[in-house]
């Protein structure tokens, strides 16, 4: 279709058969003799100082090997956020802290011969806590006189620790007040998004051991192997060269495995005992003591001219980071930077945000990365102003969205912890997304006011979205490719496939560039001893950045092959040569040589060399993918239950290198987003303890909760991406909240301002409306 042999084809995921037949691929699927099992003691208090810890009783228990507390571990302030160096997150935590800041904060760890013994030992650790007043609400936390959560010496990167403010962001363009004054219609609304968790079905798991030479090996379920190596070295104060991090297959991440929260403990146990160690989170620990989405309260105010063109947009976000500041600045920056440029017609823009500490679980990276919370509010306010103007939701979006060749001042003003980068949109097909999506959902037939008399009422809603592809001028990936005797290639790259199919996408990129079948590409990824560096799996960077690196390396290898072929053919214009089906062919003379022959020649006989190359990729822009989402819901007025009926996602991710895998990313995101919109929510006791830390009480969607989902890929060509590709993995989680919110309004004329949209809230909103 597009003239490509392997790009745009549905190659089966290269690791899928091994996974579907249960090969031992995950972190905890292998075990070593003599392994120590680690269990962790957590704080029962939301805020307290550890006056003393007595581990002597626990140590007496037979087969307990080691107990760790703040007393016998390095006190190095760092961030657990696995971000590029220098991390834009504050250095506000130690491996074990003297002060605990939420129910579930780490107090001690036990390494023992079995898990049971480790659990038993935890019960015998005596901790004297001095309880402190706690604060759970971010607004309260920022007030004068609130308990100060981070009052320790030496923390850095916190905006105002005395007021519990992790970060404060202010970005302006034009004159916002004048912008509203000069608008004909102004609408403002506020939405509050809740605590929720990623729920990868594989929890965090780490195994550490010393290799034959006494070097530390960390086999871990991570999205960021290279950042793990760097941060473990930092925390344990050992050289990077003494550590090898291996990423096996990962059982889902969605952002939660972009944190270094197990590795340093397990590594420390191995270094102290010279024995293998294993630390695997339970489901409850995954909920309480890993990471969550940042709960946020977002206010959006839009002013528009009579013709519907936006004149001013103001967004205020208040983000709750919980007890530690990981990803606080960057997630919340993205709340503005990934949303506001979508409507670049407004000359007057203001984005202000505060990120607060509270005594609740720690928020971190989560698919969508702040944009989810931003769109939840923005896309509902866009509908509200459309109604005031008497315009259709699709119409108002059509005249306001960013187009090819255009830019937004926000790109430059708001980066990831530093100034951003000016960029112009080079690929976009938003009108087409809206057109195909409205058609597929049957928008214009269904938008007429639904029958209000029936108990079950249907409604439809839409949302328009963008994200980015990698972090410009920050994210870097690298790859090495080498040729073998049979014309196969090894690809060694640092990119981190956590279930997304990146390894397969990479194989397709190499196949296309070197003219060999994907079966002849052996992909080995993310082993810090073997592969080049890559920032890891986050910021929608896999295909774009890691794939870009692989593409660059393949181009270099291609050059080397052509150079050798010149001599074999006795022809000197490499422009005449093509690579196809494992051969180099001269289109001029018809001469042909196999890659296998070239490999034998160069490895053993003539022009001896290993044909191989290493290359890197860093981008000066972050090309946004775009998506238009549509949903039809049915609401039962008697029970308040919302049932999603049909979901349509029209998505522009550039050229989809593997459409079937792209579809999987889109649907997986949507269903995760539906869960966040309808059921998923942390519930806390009065004392800040999470009370629904299991799948019975924290409901994620099952196969019977999903609507009929239709994905439409609208192909554009992104000149900056490998073979025209942009990202696809995150953007689609941003749609369900605003689309369902807008559909609820269409169905019943109600807006619910506090997520999730539970039956109780629907009934309450109906009651208030009736009153």
């Amino acid at each position: 279709m597009n003239g490509f042999e392997y790009i745009g084809k549905n190659i089966g995921k290269i690791d899928a058969m091994a996974l579907a037949t249960g090969q031992p691929l995950f972190t905890d699927d292998i075990s070593f003799p003599n392994t120590l099992h680690i269990k962790i003691l957590y704080s029962p208090h939301a805020h307290a100082i550890i006056e003393d810890i007595d581990t002597s009783e626990a140590e007496k228990i037979p087969r307990v090997k080691l107990i760790l507390t703040y007393k016998n571990t390095p006190q190095v302030l760092h961030t657990t956020a696995g971000q590029g160096w220098p991390e834009p997150s504050p250095y506000d935590t130690c491996m074990f802290n003297k002060k605990v800041r939420y129910v579930g904060d780490r107090v001690a760890a036990v390494a023992a011969e079995t898990e049971e013994i480790a659990y038993e030992a935890l019960k015998h650790i005596k901790v004297n806590y001095k309880k402190l007043p706690a604060v759970f609400d971010p607004e309260e936390a920022m007030k004068e006189g609130a308990p100060v959560i981070h009052d320790e010496e030496g923390i850095s990167g916190v905006y105002n620790p005395k007021r519990n403010i992790v970060s404060h962001i202010e970005v302006k363009a034009g004159d916002i007040e004048k912008g509203f004054e000069e608008s004909d219609v102004v609408v403002e609304d506020t939405f509050e998004m809740q605590y929720a968790q990623h729920c990868p079905i594989e929890p965090h798991a780490t195994i550490t051991y010393l290799d034959e030479y006494g070097r530390l090996v960390i086999r871990t379920s991570t999205q960021v192997p290279f950042h793990v190596r760097r941060i473990v070295a930092q925390v344990l104060e050992i050289p990077v060269q003494n550590i090898r991090v291996i990423k096996p297959r990962i059982g889902g991440g969605f952002g939660v495995k972009q944190e270094i929260i197990l590795e340093e403990i397990s590594a420390f146990v191995t270094l102290k005992t010279h024995r293998p160690a294993r630390l695997v989170y339970t489901r409850e620990e995954e909920f309480v003591s890993s990471r969550t989405r940042h709960p946020m309260k977002v206010t959006v105010k839009i002013g528009a001219k009579k013709n519907g063109i936006f004149n001013a947009i103001k967004m205020y976000a208040l983000s709750n980071n919980g007890a530690y500041g990981t990803h606080g600045l960057t997630v919340t920056s993205n709340t503005g930077s990934k949303t506001l440029p979508l409507y670049n017609k407004a000359p007057n823009i203001e984005f202000i945000a505060d990120v607060a500490y509270t005594n609740l679980p720690v928020a971190g990276a989560y698919r969508g990365y702040g944009a989810t919370q931003g769109y939840a509010a923005l896309e509902q306010v866009v509908d509200e102003i459309a109604e005031k103007l008497g315009m259709g939701p699709a119409e108002i979006r059509k005249i306001n969205h960013i187009k090819v060749g255009e830019t937004s001042p926000i790109f430059k003003a708001l980066g990831e912890g530093r100034e951003g980068v000016t960029q112009y949109i080079q690929s976009e097909a938003t009108d087409k997304l809206l057109e195909l999506g409205t058609k597929e959902i049957g928008w214009y037939e269904k938008i007429r006011k639904p029958a209000k008399e029936a108990t079950k009422v249907r409604g439809i809603g839409m949302a328009l979205l963008m994200q980015g592809s990698g972090i410009p001028l920050i994210d870097m990936g690298a790859a090495t490719i080498k040729l073998n005797e049979d014309g196969s290639f090894n690809v060694l790259y640092g990119g981190t496939d956590i279930g997304t199919g990146l390894d397969t996408v990479v194989a397709q990129i190499v196949s296309e560039t070197l003219g060999v079948k994907p079966e002849q590409i052996i992909v080995y990824a993310a082993d810090t001893d073997v592969t080049p560096f890559d920032k890891g799996a986050y910021a929608s960077s896999g295909t774009f950045i890691s794939g870009g690196a692989v593409y660059n390396a393949a181009l270099k290898v291609r050059e080397q092959i052509l150079e050798v072929t010149k001599e074999i053919f006795g022809e000197f214009n490499t422009k005449d040569f093509i690579l196809k089906d494992g051969f180099v062919i001269s289109e001029k003379s018809g001469k042909k040589v196999s890659l296998s022959e070239i490999a034998y020649q160069t490895l053993y006989l003539k022009k001896q060399q290993q044909i191989m190359a290493t290359s890197s990729f860093v981008s000066d822009s972050s090309p946004p993918p775009f998506a238009a989402h549509f949903i039809e819901i049915e609401v039962d007025k008697e029970t308040g239950i919302i049932t999603p009926i049909k979901y349509v996602a029209a998505v522009d991710c550039g050229v989809a290198i593997n459409p079937e895998l792209a579809k999987g990313q889109i649907i997986g995101s949507i269903v995760n987003g539906i869960g966040y919109a309808l059921t998923e929510e942390y519930k806390f006791s009065q004392t800040g303890k999470l009370i629904n830390s299991n799948f019975m009480e924290y409901r994620i969607p099952s196969s019977r909760d999903i609507p009929d989902i239709k994905t439409i890929l609208v192909e554009t060509y992104e000149p900056k991406g490998p073979y025209g590709a942009k990202s696809v993995a995150e953007i689609n989680i941003n749609g369900p909240i605003p689309a369902i919110g807008n559909a609820l309004y269409n169905a019943l004329g109600i807006r619910i301002h506090k997520l999730p949209y539970t039956p109780e809230k629907v009934l309450e909103a109906l009651k208030n409306k009736g009153a």
């Binding site: 058969m17 079905i201 994620i700």
Partner: protein, 155 residues
């Protein structure tokens, strides 16, 4: 105490503690194809066939199913000789991280054993105890339908 099982066609005997869960006993003995860690029967990743019925091993006592016949994902098909369900999952993009996959295929296998001609609703119900956070289920359902088609094709 000792328990005997027939696992994937092989006779096995294990030493267990009374009260031990089948999941722990099997994983400890290298049946690591059985996943799961919720220990509440809520995620389905630890499912195997016990006497032909798909069951969560995390809520089953090892002693309670002494002498049972157990089939894990490896008993359904192997990497060199995969079952059509496994092939269909690969082909239809139903495997993302793959952590849920063994359990989900076990459930689908059990369904097709009893009902070779299930409706879409039957399919959804058969895997509704197998949580998947990656796929959003659509391609899993498509894969099961595709496998049914292949199986009917007489293979």
């Amino acid at each position: 105490m000792k328990v005997h099982y027939k696992i994937n066609g092989e006779e096995k005997e294990f030493d267990i503690q009374p009260g031990e869960l089948l999941l722990d006993v099997l994983r400890r003995n290298n049946y690591t194809e059985i996943k799961g860690n919720c220990y509440l029967g809520t995620c389905g990743a630890c499912a195997v066939l016990i006497n032909e019925v798909a069951k969560a091993t995390c809520t089953t006592l090892a002693a309670q199913v002494n002498n049972a016949e157990i089939i894990t994902i490896k008993g359904i098909g192997t990497i060199s000789e995969p079952h059509l369900l496994q092939k269909a999952f690969v082909e239809k993009g139903a495997v993302q991280c793959g952590f849920c996959t063994p359990g989900t295929i076990i459930s689908a296998y059990a369904l097709l054993k009893n009902n070779p001609d299930p409706t879409e609703e039957d399919i959804k119900r058969s895997i509704d105890g197998n949580l998947c956070r990656c796929t959003g289920y659509v391609q899993q359902i498509e894969a099961i339908k595709f496998a049914i088609k292949l199986l009917k094709g007489g293979k």
